[in-house]
Amino acid sequence: MRGYLLIESRDSFEGTSHFFDLARSLAHEAKEGPVTLFLVENGVLPARRCYASEQLAALAKDGVEILADEFSLRERAIGRERLIPEVKAVALDAALDLLVEGRKALWH
């Protein structure tokens, strides 16, 4: 079971719902392995508690692991204390490790 790595570089203020929908439906299927949504660049913006964070929280409830690139967060002055609890700040190494692990990787 290879699982999926979905890298989201665009923020959901611009309309990323189809990629989030994909993450949700892949997680529901479960038999293909775990699904991780890795937020980078402007993709981290909704991780700072705001109205758009609800989409991320809902994804986490649906079984999607949500990680956010520490550098992208710092670049945008999003302190860890401002993150919704469902998002974990990590080094970009985590995305690389998932690639090395063999996750099917899609970039949006």
Partner: protein, 128 residues
Amino acid sequence: MPKKILHIVESAYRATIEEQDDTVLWFTHAMKGAGADVSVLLRGNAVNYAVEGQDASGLSFGARKQTQPPRLDADVAKLASKGVEVFYIAEDAQARGLQATDLIGGPKSLAKNELPGLLARFDLVFHW
């Protein structure tokens, strides 16, 4: 056994006049020609690539006329004729006011909820 590859094409009409084609469809053709086992899923605005009768002809810049405008519907049809399975997301087509009769023959309709099953068939999924 070659790896089974799915190209999800979302970006549409990006530099298609300058390039005289869609560079991701072109890339898919080239990979197929090199022996790839590749399929295509059109989503978002790219579902419009399957619409019959797209016409980008007639442009000129000063005296420089474009003699080979893109023919995206033909490029999609050619993929299908080369044995590349082409799908499109039904809901995206519907959202854009498209009916099956607007489209060229060949591409297969796929509902969004069928996506996990489709992706599971492939070793690699490239999202363009």
